[in-house]
Amino acid sequence: MQFILNDELIDDNTLPSDFTALRYLREKRGLTGTKEGCASGDCGACTLLVGALENGELTYSTLNSCITPVQSLSGKHVVSVEYLSKVDELHPAQQAMVESHGSQCGFCTPGFVLSLAGLYENKQNADQPIDREAVCDAISGNLCRCTGYRPIIEAGLSMIKVQEAKETPFIELMSKNEGIKSLLENLQAEANAKSNYLQPTNLEQLAQALTSNPGATLIAGGTDLMLENTQRYRDFDTLIDVSSVVELKTLDIGAITLTIGASVTYSELEDFSKILYPQIHGLLSRIASRQIRNRGTIGGNVANASPIADLPPLLLAFDADIQLLKTDGSTRTVNINDFYQGYKQTQLAKDEMIASFDLSLDKLAQFHRFYKVSKRMEDDISSVMLAVRFEVDNGKLSDVRLAFGGMAATPIRGLKAEAALTDRAINDEQALNQAIDALRNELTPMSDMRASAKYRLDMACNLIRKAWLELNGTEVVTFSGHAVSDSILSTGSEGSTHA
């Protein structure tokens, strides 16, 4: 394993495969500015900035070091809070935090500083201003229990001003640091077959790794898998990291399908869909936090087979095909409708993994919406999630998909409710009511700490109604992590009709 930690080259092949970056910094390097708040990727006190060099461009993103194996950072520039300030001068993110009174107890502060420094880096690099939405997005995975966030948001908004007020600019942007770039370029590519943490970069290497390590565990972002390590104290043996396998990173619009590689991260799909598929973009912004979205992958979310994951319902709504890959290199296609077989059970054989998802462009062009209900807007798991698609033909609903998370032991479609709407006029309210009645009879969700069974069922029904109203051109508002717009606050409508 070789990476640059702040300004030091690290070369260490002595670590367990699952040793976290947080522990590495604190226990092996004495860099205690990075804190453990939860060891589950939920609080952001352990946030680091990680720079990756691709095609000569160095770009930085944040991650939760408490659930990131340090060896997964091989080849990267890892930045902790200790790197940001010079001897007698603070980074603009730090200076702004001090001036805005953004710290009280200070324990979460280094994590916030890294998230803000990452925002500063990316916005300055792109020569863009920083608005409130961007600040809240950047710190969506950072919890503070003291300040109430107002001064931290203010710090984020004032970073550029703080920088401009200085006579000499603080620091050249990290992304423009040629020294770091050349160091990264010279890092040896990881090819140690004896390593306990393998990072194949193409399918051939992956197949080789799988064949020679039959007991190994696959890891992508590790945002769920690593909880086994940090919450249940399970030790992993060899890990095979699929996040760099180039064939699994496909994100491509073909002639008839959109293909999403299994190792595509939430953040990558979020960026990709921003203009093309705003509804998908909207859902992704409600999944986890910025730090988790930078690591977690689409394949992981689906293969994990959690009944409360948000992407399986989306894939069900589009009847996605899943390309599976066997250790021996052979492939097969399974439709998402056949993929889930029971609680945490899938069609995946022991020697199989997900390679990619194919979504029909025709279906993507049809009316679709995603609704997620949870106790908190940011970084929360759905109580109920509905993905809906309506195909309209001649004023009738010719094809209907109502796919839910949180309503059963698996992601599930409301087949009877779909049938009740199919071939009925789009504005036939009786059909809607029949669909809702049908749904009440076909799904029996459970009660847990997130929601009662009754609420889950009531929400499933109300969300169908909401989607149906939207389909029929009625303006309904769905809240997100963002502030409610003034036009909604003044009139209750968004002031523009939906497409």
């Binding site: 603070l90 001036e99 200070g106 109580s383 769905t478 502030a483």
Partner: protein
């Protein structure tokens, strides 16, 4: 306190905004250089602790087999209750909290044995191998059951005034209902932690993340069977406390100390987040039943309140918590006839503890709930009902007999009513709700009146130790602890102001039990009031000596001596502070002093349930506006305006930080933060993955906080007021605004019951209840 020619305590407007220091650690915070206990370098032989936890809520332990635990690689020591050399009880006030359970457990998560291993990971892996057999007993899990079964951790207390029963009977209108209020997880970002290092005399030094180092010291000495003087406890800072580290941090210090002394090795006990959420107490749930009589105008005539606190398995600090809930059941409103009973319900769950507000919020929300319901019953704006019932001339005595005579509350409420444009917004919200089928807005202005002083009288004392060195630099220690609130900064400001010197000359050292003995916990919002006063006393003692020296040495009159703007004035001469201090030293003037303060005027007669438990009240009010999606009950807080009374602020930036932070923490308690237990008594919200404190996206863009500009009428330190806890209760305005939005579904004919916390699910069903009421058409008045 010694009096000098200038009366420092009356120096109002002492601390001007614009010249205020930032938090003393802020640069260390942002650079990662601030040291928390887990950041201290570890010794090569340091051990790490994990404990084996009860999996039953109420049971006898039939057998324990720890063979596999002992044999696990890395395990160095395993102890059970019998291995504790001194006493096993580590209760803060009374008894019942055991360091390790014996043959009996009374909550899921109780420690039964402890492992010290070469790494935390090894210790955690080892404890999972224990084989423990239980014989279960019936468990009491809900305060309703406690009341039915008359199971209490302490006797019931009742406060009354007038004739509540008689006045209720003859009241023209009545309300009778109940409100179940769930508790709250502290979620300090730094989990519980202590490190103990044995010393050469058989004693121990403990680094604790504790709000009450003196108690950690006392309890460590108790479990080791040592004199208290053999134990030194030091706290530099905590990564948040919020009450959660008032009593319950001591267990970690005690466990680490026992293992450190046994093994002659440094021992660290850090609770991973999940253990912390399972093993440590939280804000109490309360089950409040109420019956209120009121006039046709909405004036409260009589109130009967029964408040049952879910104390958990032991008393911990619950006596004070339930008392404070009772003392705040009036909130800002005059109750001419009242009976308020507080029950200390025992349940087989973790012992609940202090949490910012200390019971007060459970009284205040009851009062505000009653106001909202009366307002709907008489068809008036809830603000009118609040103002009508607010303490004012001739309505100025609390149920426990303390006068509210400073005329702040109503003035403050009316000032906020105007500055927040409450009336105009109310009208536009009415119009919005009328024309909008899917969205409903709600608005509420709620005040808080919070009593300042510990209700245990003896705790109302503060101590300090102050030295001046020969270069003019000042070191001050005090009994208070720093958990982010800025206490060290304020104490340094107070000392600098008292001397007339630059703030930069003053260094506040970490809190140590060998500097200031027997210190009270940093709690009850009283940190600055007590420790600031003690530091001021020490400073003035030394300043008097300096004045006497100057008079003698320079032959000047008393009033010819002054220190202003860091310069010493000696008649017509001036001298720099370091020069003058050097001169004083050469002339053998003592440059060190202790300081002490005890709060005057207070006293509560528990037998009579009358008296003056508080030196003064801190007041505030907030207006919150919300918008709700009627499809789901999801909502957003769109605007908050706060006006809060901190007397003459010592540091306005820090005070505003406390107000905003407390407000959001209070809002979290009432909205997204929901504790959940299963029917076995196991907490199911044991991680930030399922327990959701607010994020930056939950606070409104329009978040206006202003300080109410008036000095404390009591002689507090520089006429300031305590600020830590009171603004937490301003978060209740969000809950009331949500209730108001729900009431809009029934055209405000009723205020439907709304659970605490008001999750989207709770709001959805409150709206349904209002809707059903409207379509049912009946008004029960």
């Amino acid at each position: 306190m010694r009096k000098l020619p200038q009366d420092f305590t009356l120096d109002t407007k002492a601390f001007k905004k614009g010249l205020l220091p930032v938090h003393e650690s802020s640069i260390k915070h942002v650079t990662g250089q601030a040291v928390y206990i887990d950041d201290m370098p570890e010794w090569p032989n340091e051990l790490h602790v994990a404990t084996g936890l009860s999996t039953e809520a109420h049971a006898d332990i039939v057998s324990i087999n720890l063979d596999k635990v002992r044999a696990y690689p890395g395990v160095v020591d395993v102890i059970v209750q019998a291995d504790i050399p001194g006493e096993v009880d580590v209760s803060p006030v009374l008894s019942g909290d055991l360091l390790l359970a014996g043959d009996f457990v009374h909550f899921i998560g109780q420690s039964i044995f402890a492992v010290a291993a070469t790494s935390l990971r090894a210790a955690k892996q080892a404890v999972a191998l224990a084989e423990i057999e239980y014989k279960t007993r019936e468990a009491t899990l809900h305060p309703r059951q406690s009341l039915e079964r008359q199971e209490f951790v302490l006797p019931t207390h009742t406060i009354s005034c007038g004739d509540a029963k008689g006045a209720l009977e003859s009241a023209p209108n009545k309300l009778k209902s109940d409100l179940y209020i769930k508790g709250q997880e502290h979620f300090y970002l730094e989990g519980q932690i202590s490190v103990a290092t044995p010393n050469e005399d058989g004693g121990v030094q403990v680094f604790a993340s504790s709000q009450h180092p003196a108690e950690v010291q006392k309890l460590v000495a108790r479990v080791l069977g040592l004199p208290v003087a053999q134990v030194l406890v030091e706290v530099r800072r905590m990564g948040g406390g919020f009450g959660g580290k008032e009593s319950q941090a001591a267990v970690l210090g005690c466990m680490a100390a026992v293992l450190a002394v046994r093994n002659r090795r440094p021992v660290k006990y850090r609770m991973p987040r999940q253990d912390d959420m399972v093993q440590t107490g939280k804000r109490h749930d309360f089950w409040n039943s109420y019956e209120v009589g009121f006039s046709n105008e909405g004036e409260i005539i009589a109130a009967e309140y029964d408040m049952v606190g879910k104390c958990g398995c032991t008393a911990d600090l619950s006596d004070g918590v339930v008392d404070r809930a009772m003392f705040h059941a009036d909130n800002a409103y005059f109750l001419p006839n009242a009976r308020i009973s507080g029950y200390r319900g025992k349940t087989h769950t973790v012992s609940n503890t202090a949490f910012r507000g200390f019971g007060g919020p459970k009284g205040v929300i009851l009062a505000e709930n009653v106001i909202e319901e009366i307002a709907c019953a008489v068809g008036k704006d809830s603000l009118d009902i609040r103002k009508l019932n607010c303490y004012q001339a001739n309505k100025d005595t609390t149920p426990y007999g303390q006068k509210v005579d400073d005329d702040v509350l109503l003035t403050l409420i009316e000032e906020l009513e105007t500055s927040s444009d409450y009336r105009a917004r109310r009208e536009s919200i009415k119009a919005f709700n009328k024309q909008n089928p899917f969205l409903k807005k709600g608005l509420a202005l709620t005040p808080v009146k919070f009593g300042i002083s510990f209700t245990s009288k003896h705790l109302n004392q503060g101590g300090a130790l102050l030295h001046i060195y020969t270069d003019g630099s000042v070191h001050v220690s005090h009994g208070g602890t720093e958990m982010g609130q800025g206490l060290y900064t304020k104490v340094a400001q107070i000392v600098a102001k008292a001397f007339g010197i630059d703030y930069q000359r003053v260094n506040v050292g970490s809190t140590r039990t060998d500097k200031v003995p027997n210190a009270s916990p940093t709690a009850a919002s009283a940190g600055t009031d007590l420790n600031g006063m003690a530091a001021l006393d020490a400073a003035l003692t030394i300043k008097s000596r300096l004045q006497e020296f100057a008079m003698e040495h320079f032959g000047i009159a008393a009033d010819a001596f002054a220190i202003e703007d860091d310069q010493v004035i000696l008649g017509s001469e001036t001298m720099s502070f370091p020069e003058f201090i050097k001169l004083a030293y050469m002339n053998r003037v003592s440059l060190s002093s202790t300081g002490f303060y005890k709060t005057p005027k207070i006293g509560y007669d528990r037998k009579a349930a009358k008296g003056r438990p508080f030196l003064y009240f801190a007041n505030g009010a907030a207006v919150s506006e919300v918008i709700v999606d009627t499809f789901t009950g999801e909502y957003k807080v769109t605007q908050v305006d706060i006006l809060h009374d901190v007397g003459d602020s010592i540091n306005a930036d820090l005070d505003i930080g406390q107000i905003e932070g407390a407000f959001v923490q209070g809002m979290g308690w009432l909205t997204s933060e929901e504790l959940s237990w299963d029917d076995k008594g196991r907490i199911t919200t044991n991680s930030p993955a399922n327990y959701k404190i607010p994020t930056s996206a939950d606070i409104p863009e329009k978040f206006n906080v202003k300080l109410f500009d008036r000095p404390n009428s009591e002689e507090s330190v520089y006429r300031s007021k305590a600020v830590g806890e009171p603004p937490l209760m301003l978060g209740i305005s969000v809950w009331c605004a949500l209730k108001d939005a729900c009431a809009a579904m029934a055209d405000h004919k009723i205020s439907p019951p709304l659970s605490v916390p008001a999750t989207p699910e709770a709001v959805f069903y409150a709206m349904q209840a209002a809707q059903n009421h409207k379509t049912g058409g009946e008004v029960s008045l």
